[in-house]
């Protein structure tokens, strides 16, 4: 699925959101792809990811990168999220240096992707555009809650949990960091941007000052 597409929030709040994933295609290049996915993960870990994971094993907040690497096998998807353009650029640069040959997609702002790709010598192939939410929109939680919940594209994070954590942060019962980590734990694929969530929780405290 397009689980790193449809992330909500302002353009400004997405400036530091750089999710990527790599996976093989079944019947084309899945045999032997486990080794490549392990290498992808090792390279990613050298560039300060804010999250990384795979659905079968979990993410950096529920297990270790070593265990994720060990669990990777053919026909898996590995996800990684960087929280700044510098780390994202350095990671892609290293993939290019490795003459990477497994599909990679990235869910960041298009203008950032185009800029970084031009810098490191990548020519993007195709784009999946998010063209909106339709239907009974009155069922949706407020946009500020969607900015959190849509970072898990499989929607394993309930709006009520986000609201409860916002309340706890405001009352000083938990820190923005711990609140972000507790949400990240529910996104098994590791697509949740923990650093961005922490920033968004901090903004609630700043508004109170």
């Amino acid at each position: 699925m397009s689980h790193t597409l449809h992330r909500r929030g302002s353009k400004e709040s997405l400036q530091n959101d750089f999710p990527l994933l790599s996976r093989p295609s079944i019947g084309i290049n899945n045999i032997g792809s486990g080794d490549k996915l392990r290498e992808f993960t090792k390279i990613a870990m050298r560039h300060n990811p804010t999250n990384l994971g795979m659905s079968k094993k979990g993410n950096l907040y529920t297990t270790t990168s070593e265990e994720i690497i060990e669990a990777l096998e053919d026909n898996r998807t590995v996800n990684v999220v960087f929280a700044n353009k510098e780390d994202y650029t350095a990671f892609l640069k290293e993939l290019v240096e490795h003459n990477w040959d497994l599909s990679v997609t990235t869910g960041a702002l298009r203008e950032n992707v185009e800029e970084v790709c031009a810098e490191v010598g990548i020519v993007p192939h195709s784009v999946n555009l998010s063209i909106g939410i339709f239907g009974k929109l009155e069922l949706l939680p407020p946009e500020e809650i969607l900015a959190f919940t849509t970072m898990c594209g499989h929607h394993q994070i309930a709006p009520a949990l986000v609201e409860a954590l916002i309340d706890k942060v405001k009352k000083g019962k938990t820190s923005p960091h711990d609140a972000a980590v507790s949400l990240a734990r529910h996104c098994p694929c590791g697509a949740f941007n923990t650093a961005r969530a922490e920033d968004m929780f901090k903004q609630y405290l700043e508004k109170m000052e």
Binding site: L14, S25, K136
Partner: protein, 240 residues
């Protein structure tokens, strides 16, 4: 998902359920199985102090709920977890959406509302007359009994899932009728749907369909999912 006799009725699990399926009755948690999509979020959260949340044995219909709602489950028809489709993730090696065509992914129930298949059917029936190339390597397509009409297998219609993706490709010329059909059918469904459109760069580094989309009043969000074209040496040369 069921609650066993260990439950102390503390209610800690309630905010973890995105479907609002858990409530307290007679000082015990109760799960409304008609609303539960078998996503396992409540159990996996580890929030229950008594380990009272259990996955029951799933019959065929509840397995469908589980496969479309729990990213740890694998779809048997595609052997892929999550919503069960490769879509743009491997487009550079599969040529699933070739240059000059548009790929659509209409994820019904997303973000986080959930859907019954009868609502999904309302959308597929609105789209099918346009003439679509349905994506076969997508678990939802295997539930559509008649691809000409968009009608689903009758027995699944009332089943609820967290979300599922209607996936097909069309030539660029069919963009406008598809958007019109979606704008109309959105008033008939009891849920929401998130729409995505895949386009492959042409030789001039333009995305076919993007200008046409803007002309009919739709501006895509600034964040998108970009396939970086790193999958296979020579793939881009072949496609462009």
């Amino acid at each position: 998902m069921i609650v066993n006799e260990q439950c102390i009725g503390c209610g800690s699990c309630i905010p973890y359920c995105g479907m609002g399926a858990i409530s307290i009755k007679d000082k015990k948690a109760v799960i409304d199985l008609d609303e539960c999509v078998e996503c396992s979020v409540c159990r996996r959260s580890g929030v229950c102090p008594k380990n009272a949340l259990e996955m029951q044995e799933l019959d065929e219909m509840r397995k469908i709920r589980h496969q479309f709602s729990d990213p740890k489950a694998t779809h048997p028809s595609t052997m892929i977890k999550g919503r069960g489709t490769e879509e743009i993730k491997t487009n550079d090696v599969t040529n699933r959406v070739a240059c000059g065509r548009l790929g659509f992914g209409i994820e019904v129930g997303r973000p986080g509302i959930g859907t019954r298949f009868y609502d999904v059917q309302r959308i597929t029936k609105a789209l099918a007359p346009i003439g679509l190339d349905w994506e076969k390597a997508n678990p939802l397509t295997s539930l559509i009994a008649n691809l000409e009409t968009g009608e689903f297998m009758h027995q699944v219609l009332n089943e609820k899932v967290l979300s599922c993706i209607i996936e097909f490709s069309v030539p660029v010329e069919k963009l406008e009728p598809i958007i019109k059909a979606l704008l109309n059918v959105q008033h008939e469904v009891e849920t929401v749907f998130s729409v995505s459109m895949i386009s492959t760069y042409d030789a001039d580094r333009k995305l076919p369909g993007l200008e046409e989309l803007k002309k009919i009043g739709i501006t895509p969000r600034p964040n998108a999912k970009t396939n970086l074209g790193m999958g296979k040496p020579g793939a881009q040369t072949k496609l462009h």
